[in-house]
């Protein structure tokens, strides 16, 4: 009789526990999602120094904290974009969980309506205003740091000191030994200023920039991507290039004779960000958000951005020692004043036109 009573009590306790758990789960669906951890998160990234910094600064610490593996997918940023778009449009699960993207590309995806709103991330509070995407409601993406398209040069080719003006690119002495990005990215606004225009000319009057490009074409620049610049500098094939400071710094850290400067016309400053595609299973979206949230924490921002050598959106983080006072590492308002910043919505609207003209000049 006693045993039967014990069993009855146990069953009642079990039933009560189960009911309480079910009620808790219904009341807090995030608890369910949090417990249902995916085996891995796939994060699209750039390779080389970029991917290594993300791995060491964000992915590995995130795995240590949550037990979720993070796989970096090095698909080209422009190539992953249509894959995500078609997956979202067709109701398929997107190929990645988090996209590390340029803010311009991310804005395009946000305009297309394929990004998850990140407004509820707890670590957004207290970030620098730079973190907020320009011209968009809420946080369809979050900017994570700023970067500068510097004037990188081979010190050996400039024995009298660094080039002081972008017009040095036109010097016949450097014919065939200069390089730009193959879509003009990072240089279009600078070309306008170097070509005699002003910042106010952008985007309505780009003609000074196009004229600068026409003159530049005669000096036979090489056009390429991040990895090309490193190869070209390494092989001694170029003396001067417009490239992101991260590439120049990585090349220098690998023993390549590369320095950089911000010429008198300034350099273009831009931002990269993180976003999550729509259409992920609920638990995977939850953990993808947790990843982005972690990337915005002080710990992650400090390590990630120090490795990249870029100013983070988390305030109060000191620059790496080798970049203290470096003009490519803007932290104060006056630092940014020396640089040229074009808002992402303006870039989104005008970049296709600029690219078409850039192509017309250099492919002619």
């Amino acid at each position: 009789m006693k045993n039967r009573q014990q069993i009855k009590n146990m069953q009642r306790r079990t039933a009560l526990k189960a009911t309480a758990a079910a009620a808790g789960a219904l009341a807090f669906p995030s608890l369910l999602r949090a417990n249902d951890k995916p085996k891995e998160l796939i994060v699209r990234a750039w390779g080389g120094a970029w991917g290594e910094a993300l791995k060491a600064g964000v992915a590995d610490p995130f795995t240590a904290a949550t037990g979720i593996k993070v796989r970096l997918d090095f698909t080209e940023d422009n190539e992953i974009k249509p894959k995500i778009w078609s997956a979202v449009d067709q109701g398929r699960i997107p190929p990645i969980h988090v996209n590390w993207d340029t803010s311009t590309n991310a804005t395009i995806s946000a305009l297309r309506g394929v990004t998850v709103d990140l407004s509820d991330l707890s670590n957004l509070e207290g970030l620098l205003p730079l973190a907020k995407p320009a011209g968009l409601e809420g946080y369809p993406l979050v900017n994570t740091y700023a970067y500068v398209y510097v004037c990188a040069y081979r010190a050996e080719a400039f024995p009298d000191g660094p080039p002081t003006s972008w017009k040095t690119l036109l010097d016949p002495k450097y014919k065939g030994r200069i390089a730009l990005y193959d879509d003009g990215i990072g240089f279009n606004p600078i070309a306008v200023i170097a070509g005699g225009g002003t910042f106010e000319d952008i985007p309505d009057n780009m003609e000074p920039g196009y004229e600068f490009y026409r003159q530049l074409k005669a000096n036979e620049p090489l056009l390429g991507e991040d990895s090309d610049f490193t190869t070209w500098f390494q092989n001694g094939e170029i003396d001067m290039a417009c490239t992101i400071s991260v590439n120049a710094r990585a090349a220098r850290q690998n023993g390549i004779d590369v320095q950089w400067t911000v010429p008198e016309e300034g350099c273009k400053v831009d931002t990269d960000g993180l976003w999550i595609p729509k259409g992920l299973p609920e638990n995977e979206e939850y953990w993808a958000k947790e990843f982005v949230n972690f990337a915005l924490s002080r710990e992650a921002q400090e390590k990630w951005c120090s490795l990249l050598g870029l100013p983070p959106v988390f305030p109060g983080i000191a620059p790496p020692e080798d970049l203290i006072g470096d003009p490519s590492y803007p932290t104060e308002a006056e630092d940014f004043a020396r640089l040229v910043s074009v808002p992402s919505p303006v870039l989104v609207e005008n970049q296709p036109k600029w690219f078409a003209k850039f192509n017309e000049i250099f492919q002619g």
Binding site: E76, N78, E79, K81, P82, I108, S109, L111, R112, G113, G176, D182, D183, E220, P221, L222, L223, G224, T231, N235, G236, E237, V348, E349, P352, F355, A356, N359, E360, F362, Q363, G364
Partner: protein
């Protein structure tokens, strides 16, 4: 014949009988006339899928991009084609591509024919093996790897320029120009051309050449009037393959061109991926497919489809 043998046929025979019975059940005798169609069904399905894709491309090409949503507008328009015509850069890139494809085809055939001839006619098996290995070794290495190999050899601080500088001569600009792209493509296309020409030369009996020579023609005349015309199927086939592959190539211009000698495939890539304008990319693709088809049709019209041993 002993009875035992009739009762107990070998297992293989029994199996074959059963398989034949199954085949008769699945494909009755009355359908035998359609057996040929059955065999080409997979190929037809494949072509069908490609045609469906082409249909989608034509559809996309008739919609303009809406920059406020980065989606194609619903309205049908020819604006993408008008844009291609109005932008002289696309015509220049197209002409550059066609010129390169023509040059690559001519040079490749010029180099491939003697190579294939020697490989077929040489009495030395060692030389034949050497030529085969030399042909296949680079064939197994991907196009991108080969292009990077040329960067090492032809680069401004590459092997050739290093030697030139050591000899006191000025360094040469051997890469990142049009010539480098054409050179890289010729090297890439050579094995394709040789492999297509070899069967044509093999089909020409050596005795025919001997007969021509016994009638008084020297080797050159026999080659010109007998071998070359008889090898026409191989030459035309190789020419069409090399031309179309060169015209649609992407990697060589990207790697060896230095960014300023794009081919039409690069422009298509840029439209789809850099500009996110699938309408414009589709329009460019349709132009390329149409142009390629017209050129191949002209070749067949001039040389006759019979050159590929197709019954007319």
């Amino acid at each position: 014949m002993p009875k035992r043998t009739l009762d107990r046929l070998p297992l293989r025979w029994t199996l074959l009988d059963k398989l034949e019975a199954i085949a008769r059940f699945l494909w009755p005798a009355r359908l035998r006339g359609a057996t040929g169609w059955l065999f080409i069904t997979p190929a037809l399905l494949l072509v069908g899928v490609l045609l469906i894709g082409l249909g989608y491309m034509i559809e996309y090409s008739l919609h303009e991009l809406d920059l406020s949503t980065y989606r194609l507008k619903d309205a049908y328009t020819l604006d993408n084609y008008v844009f291609l015509v109005e932008q002289p850069v696309y015509l220049r890139v197209l002409l550059r591509t066609l010129l390169a494809a023509t040059l690559v085809t001519a040079m490749t055939l010029f180099l491939a024919f003697p190579y294939a001839y020697l490989m077929v006619r040489t009495p030395s098996s060692a030389l034949r093996k050497f030529l085969l290995v030399s042909l296949f070794l680079p064939f197994f290495i991907g196009q991108v790897v080969r292009a990077y190999g040329w960067l090492i050899i032809l680069g401004k601080e590459g092997i050739i320029n290093t030697v030139l500088l050591k000899m006191g001569l000025p360094a040469l600009d051997l890469i990142y120009n049009y010539g480098a792209v054409v050179f890289g493509l010729v090297q890439y296309m050579l094995p394709f051309a040789v492999l297509l020409i070899v069967p044509a030369i093999t089909a020409i009996g050596e005795d025919i050449e001997l007969a021509a020579e016994s009638l008084g023609a020297n080797w050159l005349r026999a080659f010109w009037h007998v071998v070359l015309p008889m090898a026409r199927p191989g030459l035309v086939g190789a020419g069409v393959v090399v031309f179309t592959l060169s015209m649609t190539d992407f990697a060589m211009p990207e790697i060896l061109g230095g960014g300023t000698t794009d081919f039409i495939a690069s422009a298509i890539y840029d439209s789809f991926f850099q500009l996110s304008n699938s309408g414009l990319g589709a329009a460019l693709s349709i132009v390329l497919v149409t142009l390629g088809s017209i050129l191949v049709a002209i070749v067949f019209r001039l040389t006759g489809a019979g050159t590929l041993s197709i019954r007319q």
